[in-house]
């Protein structure tokens, strides 16, 4: 009995102190401190850097808290919607991943923030639809990353290889590297999710419209055009182009692979691994190119784009200030700060890109009007993507044939799309 009484007293005093600190700002003076939850391990410093820009511009400070496990992070926020207790700002994913949170009142509607930012030229209107559910917008972009092919420039030079303009040239590079004892390409099933990387890449290189139709359920996974792409993938797997499925290609592992000469298709958020962790010089030691089209009849190339989201908790205590913070985040000072600390691209077109690799890549994409296509991860009902990756993993490991994969994916797709539309409409 007594231990419980003590516990209640302790709990009560803790509760009182936390209530006193919550919402801090108003009583304390001019600066508002907003609680910012995220699951990007190692990015605390980047967010704190942005915080200094927000402080200068709007007297708002960020207090970032890292959640080490992404699944626990998502579940914490799911529960936050129900209990009303949570952060002021949070990171999330765009596209279909926002739907559940938007419909269930986790994210606040920030369409007005977008309207103001678009008007000021701080963000391109094209990006907005990735953060929309229905007619309302629920997040701002947390950096915008392309998924090019990173390659080792020195090894290319050593073997007389140059950036491929056609698919045939690309395959030739793969064959050359393989002949020299270098595994040409990375692929992984580690964690299941990386399985979609080559799937989406080959689809958009064949035809971006095919990809878009497939992911919006306009055509089926059993369509012969989809099967043809799967067959191309299978041929590459059988030729031994890819690294073993249990290799990772992020961070330190990416640098190790890069140093060996393997080409790595990964988001530009991984760029700092090469430049900072690996100490490689962009443009000299390594660089990136847009993967050429398989189908030579296509006029333009395509590239996968990944946009993370930052949103405000709808039931947050400091909602008004949170929205101010989001607006400020899109302005030049904060965006420039982000470009500086992350070495990645930013949504604000006015910010000059410092990193040489990102700079030349962005310039290429703009000049050649490369199609920017939303990542597979954000492009469909969540259970379809998650369970789909398990099926694609088996394919990558040679455990399923093209027909088996397309049939199973089609069945899964039908089931999950039906469940999704029943639940969320549209």
């Amino acid at each position: 009995m007594s231990s419980k009484k003590i516990a209640i007293a302790v709990v009560a005093s803790f509760a009182l102190t936390s209530v006193a600190y919550a919402g801090s700002a108003v009583a304390a003076g001019k600066t508002t401190t907003l609680n910012f939850y995220h699951d990007k391990k190692g990015w605390d410093e980047r967010f704190l850097a942005v915080s200094t820009a927000l402080n200068d511009g709007a007297n708002i400070k960020l207090k970032p808290s890292t959640f080490a496990d992404t699944t626990i992070y998502q579940n914490t926020l799911n529960q936050a919607a129900k209990t009303g207790k949570g952060p002021d700002l949070l990171t999330w994913w765009s596209g279909y991943r926002m739907v559940d949170g938007a419909k269930n009142g986790i994210f606040a509607d920030i369409s007005d923030v977008w309207a103001s930012a678009i008007k000021a030229g701080d963000v391109s209107a094209d990006l907005q639809k990735q953060f929309q559910v229905g007619s309302k917008t629920y997040g701002i972009p947390n950096g915008v990353s392309f998924w090019p092919m990173f390659y080792n420039k020195k090894i290319f030079a050593q073997y007389g290889l140059s950036v491929p303009k056609t698919w045939a040239e690309f395959i030739n590079i793969c064959d050359t590297l393989k002949a020299k004892g270098i595994t040409p390409l990375t692929a992984s099933v580690d964690g299941a999710w990386p399985a979609f990387i080559w799937f989406e890449q080959l689809l958009i290189s064949q035809d971006p419209k095919l990809y878009l139709d497939l992911t919006s359920n306009k055509i089926k996974y059993t369509d012969p055009k989809v099967k043809a792409v799967l067959q191309i993938w299978k041929d590459m797997i059988d030729k031994g182009y890819f690294t073993a499925g249990d290799t990772s290609f992020f961070g330190e592992a990416a640098v190790a692979l890069m140093n060996k000469g393997t080409m790595i298709p990964v988001g530009t958020w991984n760029n700092s691994a090469f430049s900072v962790t690996g100490g490689l010089v962009g443009g000299k030691d390594y660089d990136a190119f847009v993967i050429p089209n398989i189908n030579p009849a296509l006029k333009t190339q395509s590239i996968i784009v990944e946009a993370g989201a930052i949103g405000a908790l709808a039931k947050g205590k400091n909602l008004a200030q949170s929205k101010v913070a989001l607006r400020e985040w899109l302005k030049f000072p904060a965006q420039a700060m982000w470009a500086d600390v992350s070495g990645d691209g930013v949504p604000n077109p006015k910010v000059p890109v410092a990193d040489p690799v990102i700079k030349s890549l962005s310039k290429y994409v703009a000049t050649n009007k490369v199609n920017q296509v939303q990542r597979y991860w954000e492009s469909g009902p969540v259970p379809l993507i998650e369970n789909g990756c398990a099926i694609l993993s088996a394919f990558m490991l040679g455990k399923k044939t093209v027909d088996e994969v397309s049939t199973e994916m089609a069945a899964l797709s039908d089931k999950e799309w039906a469940a999704w539309t029943a639940k969320y409409g549209k």
Partner: protein, 271 residues
């Protein structure tokens, strides 16, 4: 007889060597020179720089608040749970309550529940009652989870305490509490000590409760903080991460080396 003994030694030495191999791996890679280290976790000697790696590890993982938090959770959590477990084990063994089996399974039963099942409902309660991200809240959970196995061990040991001693004390008019403190406690302290060590280690190494129920770096237990260091966005090199693991494991390793004798006597049924 002699050859049999030699044979046993050889068998045991081979297995012991196999057992130590992964620990060797851990150490050799934790002490490696980080300058040239790039995802090459293997047997080879890669330099030996324990001091710089330890320093980097200490700073990167904010080990000072982490170790303090863990010490509090471990000592208080294991201590309180063992105390409460001892009291209930005594009751079940010596005081003849009704429905003994029910009490046993009720208290031991928590040990059988899969931990992920507890995570979200506890988070739910914690968020609603303000216990989320507090040391007190996490402690309450650790105590609750640690009681069952401590209870199991204590009961097992207490059953071997001779009934005559207890009855003699009762005839002399000793109260229940006195019988507990004067007879059972002194006789069971090896078992209680062993239980403390087991539960201290469990609490010290906990990851899931720490991840789910806390978020601030000064409340978060050590393993949860450690897991923020690895991942696709991480900029820390593997030797530093392994160093953090090593440092984090030293206290428990030390306790076990010192307390090894305690196990054997503590789990003995006869005394």
């Amino acid at each position: 007889m002699r050859t049999a003994k030699v044979g046993r030694h050889i068998f045991l030495m081979v297995f012991a060597a196999m057992w130590l191999a992964p620990i060797y791996l851990l150490i050799i890679n934790a002490m490696a020179n980080t300058k040239n280290y790039m995802d090459n976790f293997d047997w080879a000697y890669k330099g030996f720089q324990p001091l710089p790696n330890f320093k980097a590890a200490w700073a990167a993982a904010e080990l000072t608040p982490g170790l303090i938090s863990n010490a509090i959770y471990g000592i208080v959590g294991a201590g309180v749970s063992v105390a409460l477990a001892a009291l209930s084990a005594y009751a079940v063994v010596a005081l003849n309550p009704k429905a003994k089996q029910v009490w046993f399974w009720l208290i031991y039963g928590v040990n059988l529940v899969p931990i992920p099942m507890l995570l979200l409902p506890l988070f739910d309660i914690f968020a609603r009652t303000g216990l989320y991200d507090t040391r007190a809240g996490l402690l309450l959970v650790y105590i609750g989870i640690a009681i069952p196995f401590a209870f199991f061990l204590s009961r097992n040991h207490m059953l071997s305490i001779s009934r005559e001693i207890v009855e003699a004390a009762q005839i002399d008019g000793a109260s229940k509490l006195l019988v507990f403190t004067r007879i059972f406690l002194p006789l069971s302290w090896p078992a209680l000590g062993a239980a403390f060590l087991f539960q201290f280690t469990w609490i010290w190494n906990d990851l899931l409760f720490g991840l789910t129920l806390t978020v601030s770096s000064n409340v978060r237990p050590l393993m949860a903080t450690l897991s923020t260091l690895v991942g696709q966005y991480s900029t820390l090199k593997l030797p530093i991460v392994l160093c953090v693991t090593l440092i984090a494991s030293l206290p428990t390793a030390f306790l076990y080396i010192v307390g090894q004798r305690l196990f054997i006597t503590g789990l003995k049924a006869g005394s």
